[in-house]
Amino acid sequence: MPDSKKFIVSHAPFWHDGSHITTRNYHTLLAALPAVIFGMIQYGMPAVGVVSLAVSSAMIWEYLLNRITRQPVTIGDGNAALIGLLFAMLLPATSPWWMVITGTLVAILVGKEIYGGIGGNPFHPTLVAVAILMLSWKDLFDFDAALVDYEFDFAVAYPLAALKHFGAWAVEGFTPGGLLMGNQIGGIGSTFGLGIVAGGIYLALRGIIRWEISVSFLAGVFITALIFNLADGARYAGPLFHLFTGYTLIGAFFFATEDSSSPVNFIPMLIYGAGGGILTVLIRNIGVYLDGVVFALLIMNIANPLLDKLRPKALGKVI
């Protein structure tokens, strides 16, 4: 039959709702911007330098690793840029250049590529990098020392450090409103609570992050901190303080919710989020580290595959 026209034959369904990995990553980058821009304004050029270096080096590492492993080049999907940006958001503005590029290398290589790239990572790549750097060069995450040269119209003292060393009275000067507006020192993109929450709500509404995880994480932090605070108000700060300091908010909206390392079923999401929140406060209040978010979330990442086995019975399943 002389029918020369070739048609595309493929499998149902023939429609797609238009969502895409790339769009998701770019929207996440967008949602992080308010907090990042605030950090840049607050800390000036050093912060701009760290953010730029982190984003660009993460992308370069990914490109090089793609070439070395002979995989398709994936920097276009925005995931490497996102990992780099999130890394910068946790760092002090004065971080040295070698630390930034080591961190992004660890994040991209150990956090992501050795598991086969996007979707394969059991942990949040950025958290892996931060944890390794924290253990290797503890002093680099000493925000008081790192930011000593800055002058602000609020106390230049890392709130969690003040709490740990002097007890709850030392942080009475921090009002929740002030903390939320970024009147505190900390990582470049992790102090402007309002911006992070706005970004997080945007992502949740767009369906890019799973709100159940963020909400249960925050609830876990709040309730655990409240219990400690009620038990001994002189040693343990109140729940709002814990919510708005350190990495709590950025952890809730940008780290706990990473797709590959978090559960997708409803109950597991609640357990995962709440577990992360509880562990965070436990580490802060009775552990040796100032902030518990990084380790708490890594521990919950380990539990994720197990948690996700709790799922509803499939339709018509016969056991």
Partner: protein
């Protein structure tokens, strides 16, 4: 195409657009010069050389039965009168093979006497031996399976996939034929309980048709038989079973109307109602002879196709793409649509990123994110044992929402097919 809403948190609304009120303009496709009928061959490789007892130059009449030489339960009825022009093998997807019978059509219909004669004594055997080939493919075979005990017939007055208004058209405009068809079903099958599933807000006069009228959601995927079983009868179809195993058979409204027409006139009605949607997304209702090459329909409706477009038989969620405009309309083809090459969503090589969209949308509550990993790795047994492969009701929504654009549904079909093949091979060697 339905797109993700800006607020991704809300589930996509997969409402079927309502059928326009009032009279449909329905266009008749002129009888083509040549029609092609397809007979599906049995899977058994020993019957691979199967064919039909017809050869080039044989004359067939309208309503004449054409069956496979090895298995007379695989048959079709000629929708036209004419001369056989070619008998050739043809291939479908997942290893299905067909015998294609092409017939050069004569302008005047001569009706087959054997069929007319047989229609005078309507009984179960008639249904089995002739009427399964009616437009809409009524599944009379279900009554003759081993251990079959069918107690309910459900007539689908709703369309199960998007871009089809065929069943709702029949419901609105072929009441007489439907009523006769329902009476006919009672006589032929002896089943007392006949349920007519209609869209919510349908004409209350439908009760006059003699069936129990039940309103159902016209929201995808609730229009699929497995989910209708739940809505209508509160029954869940166990994994690996069918609705028929639970005693319910689904008929399309068109099949019932065709039955009514056949009973009234004693002739085989060789026409089919189709919803045809062009690239500009306008839908046309047409009637065409079964076996009409889809090209003839496009010509009449002035739908242009180009290289690398996609032609789909059936709906966008469950249909199948065809590779040529020569592809004939089959008795169960409710809808045809053309997708412009620029609108074909590309699939990608991305791995699953575990976003969970598929898990949230799956009506069968399958952990699709895990399932797809096992299917991609070809570990079908684990996919079935651990991750509920057999619970899938084939709605295609997981692929529709997949952020990584993995052809998940294709993997699922392949997985089920491979398992079936493996088990068949094991059974043969046992």
């Amino acid at each position: 195409m339905i797109k993700r809403s800006f607020l991704g948190l809300v589930k996509p609304k997969l409402e079927m657009p309502p059928v326009p009120e009032g009279r449909f303009e329905i266009k008749a496709v002129p009888t083509p010069g040549r029609v092609t009928l397809l007979l599906e061959k049995p899977k058994d490789p020993r019957l691979a050389s199967d064919t039909v007892a017809l050869s080039k130059g044989d004359r067939v009449k309208t309503g004449q039965k054409i069956c496979l030489s090895s298995d007379s339960t695989v048959y079709t009825l000629s929708p036209v009168t004419g001369t056989v022009f070619q008998v050739s093998p043809s291939i479908g997807d997942f290893g299905t093979t067909y015998i294609a019978v092409s017939i050069e059509v004569e302008p005047e219909d001569v009706f087959d006497e054997a069929f007319q004669e047989r229609m005078k004594q309507p009984d179960a055997a008639l249904a089995r031996e002739h009427l399964s080939a009616l437009p809409g493919s009524p599944p009379f075979g279900a009554f003759f399976r081993e251990n079959a005990s069918i107690d309910t017939l459900c007539i689908m007055g709703v369309d199960s996939d998007f871009l089809s208004t065929t069943q709702r058209y029949i419901l609105a405009h072929q009441r007489g034929a439907l009523k006769r068809g329902i009476d006919g079903l009672k006589t032929l099958t002896g089943v007392e309980r006949i349920v007519l599933a209609v869209p919510a807000g349908a004409d209350p006069q439908l009760v006059d048709l003699g069936a129990e009228v039940r309103e159902v959601f016209t929201r995808y995927p609730h229009t699929l038989p497995q989910l209708l079983m739940q809505t209508l009868f509160g029954q869940t179809v166990p994994a690996g079973k069918t609705c028929e195993d639970l005693g319910t058979v689904f008929f399309s409204a068109e099949a019932v109307a065709a039955l009514g027409e056949a009973m009234q006139h004693g002739r085989f009605p060789g026409h089919k109602v189709l919803t045809v949607t062009g690239k500009d997304q306008t839908a046309h209702m047409v009637t065409a002879r079964i076996g009409t090459p889809v090209r003839e329909i496009f010509n009449m409706l002035e739908i242009e196709t180009q290289e690398l477009d996609r032609i789909v038989f059936g709906g966008p969620m469950t249909g199948s793409a065809v590779y040529s405009e020569d592809q004939p309309i089959l008795p169960h083809t409710d809808a045809v649509f053309v997708q412009d090459r620029s609108r074909i969503p590309p699939i990608s090589q991305n791995p699953c990123i575990n976003c969970g969209e598929c898990v949230r949308i799956c009506p069968a509550r399958i952990p699709v994110n895990m399932l797809v990993r096992y299917l991609e790795a070809g570990r079908y047994d684990e996919a079935a044992d651990l991750y509920d492969l057999h619970c899938c009701i084939a709605c295609g929504l997981c692929s529709f929402v997949c952020v990584a654009r993995i052809p998940i549904f294709q993997y699922i079909r392949l997985g089920k097919y491979e398992l079936e093949r493996m088990h068949a091979a094991e059974a043969n060697h046992a």
